[in-house]
Symmetry: C2
Amino acid sequence: MRNLITDVPDVLVGNAQDARAAPGVTVALFEHSTVASVATLGGAPGSRAVSLLEPEMTRGLIDAVVLSGGSLFGLDAAGGTTSVLASQKRGALFGGITLPVAVQAILFDLINGGEKDWIREPMTHKPPYWDLGRDAALAAAADFALGTVGAGFGATTVNLKGGLGSASARTPQGFTVGALAAVNAVGAATIGDGPQFWAGAYERGSEFGGLGWPARVPAEALAMRFKGQPAPATATTIALVATDAKLSKAECKRLAIMANDGLARALRPVHAPNDGDTVFAAATGQAGPGGEPPVLTELGAAAADCLARAVARGVYEAQALPYKSALPDWQQRHGRK
Amino acid sequence: MRNLITDVPDVLVGNAQDARAAPGVTVALFEHSTVASVATLGGAPGSRAVSLLEPEMTRGLIDAVVLSGGSLFGLDAAGGTTSVLASQKRGALFGGITLPVAVQAILFDLINGGEKDWIREPMTHKPPYWDLGRDAALAAAADFALGTVGAGFGATTVNLKGGLGSASARTPQGFTVGALAAVNAVGAATIGDGPQFWAGAYERGSEFGGLGWPARVPAEALAMRFKGQPAPATATTIALVATDAKLSKAECKRLAIMANDGLARALRPVHAPNDGDTVFAAATGQAGPGGEPPVLTELGAAAADCLARAVARGVYEAQALPYKSALPDWQQRHGRK
């Protein structure tokens, strides 16, 4: 086990980023078209090709999930991924044309310090996301980096640098579950300004420091603190959970809803009006049926745990960006691992 | 009155197309950010940035609606539109950055005969939609062409060339309502192979031939006929209705749902599993409150009528594409106007 979402067979992940502009894209690519759905619980989402993931819609097979920075500008990224998928003949045939499906969610990282020339001069510079979506898809592999990479490159939380996280687990019934998250939370992943994580209870080994939970949470750690006080600010944590169980699209929707509980446990606050928190759920199906309520309950609970751990790992593994006003990273604050 | 959606103050429309590849994009641009929502009743939709249009989401203001061909490849178009909007400083300020909102729906026209080199060689040719989305936004004006233009360029119905249509009306309460539709229906807009339209009852003047309804519909016209029998095929009619009434996002959602009834009356069948039929609704607000149920009922009924008329006009105004297997247009079949 790599403790990555790629422990789920058929799932590959690639990152691409542009260090000057500080945007990034992460692509999860499925070796075979895969059943998926989505649950969008943040109040300000940005997404591409997600309507088809609703249970009442016909198509339910996707070839890639694209997570990216760039807010609405970033929604070009799935286009680059789509061209890579087309070149690899992925997707389903329609009238002699292979039509791959890349679904996408974005996060808001446009004020992270990088040089955004396509915002300053929109008619002379194209946004970089289409190319980054292509490059991230071309980089897809079983091993991939965490922290300040891909869609986590420009990400932040209210008090620390955010980043890309991932985790995996095996359920008692023998299914593999994995999570991938780009953590750009409106709130905090740590308990106040201490080194411990809200997700501490679910940690495996020392994957994010091994510091557990405090016996008593100090009052100042419970004080409300989030980005954009008093002015509004946008944030967003976007994620994918995957399993090798065989699920219908409606069951994937249930899995995505339960997985959002992992965001609730790992981030405070989350799912806010200016968040676009979106969780995709995909089921590759090799390990057999998982849709019966008790089995799906186990999968959903495991997905929530994995997603909570992925969030903490995203923050734990992040490195601060080299800009003057950049937030510190967990390692700077709480000691190198 | 132009009998176009641009009779609604603040709404401009631009078209762009590529005659060699035969894709096209239509952009409706709002002079001021405008409340909007969407109702997606087709079973195979492709859309961009539509999650934020749901009533439970925070943002409700949009700057453009992009309708395009190209299926999922076409979803790059809103990116080009977004850059134009950014250059014009449209949108809302977030952290010092103007963030315009362009929402999009696509239709499937990839087998219309044009030269799609980005599908044949995806790693050496980029799809043309980003540039077309930019060009259509730059072309936005109060006057625009109908028929084989923009998102209607490659569109077809089961028996005739489809196209871009528009219509407008004034309600008894004095509101203006308009509709814009790219008609790529899985079914037919005409009653069988005759010259009359299912939308005939709602026609104003001779906007689509003035032929009314047949006194009795022949049995063969009621026979089930739609694209893709027996093989599956994708289609999709995408549309926008707009009004100068002041509506909330939830009220725009209701308007979009009622407007879909216009598709039901103008196309048979419609809203099918391989359709991605999507109707946006926008309310520019200058003419005062329109959300009280009796007023909104009137607006919804007027929007449905306008959309039915826009569908018929899209087919009536279309010109067949110059490819060997191209479907004939209404004028070829039933005499020049």
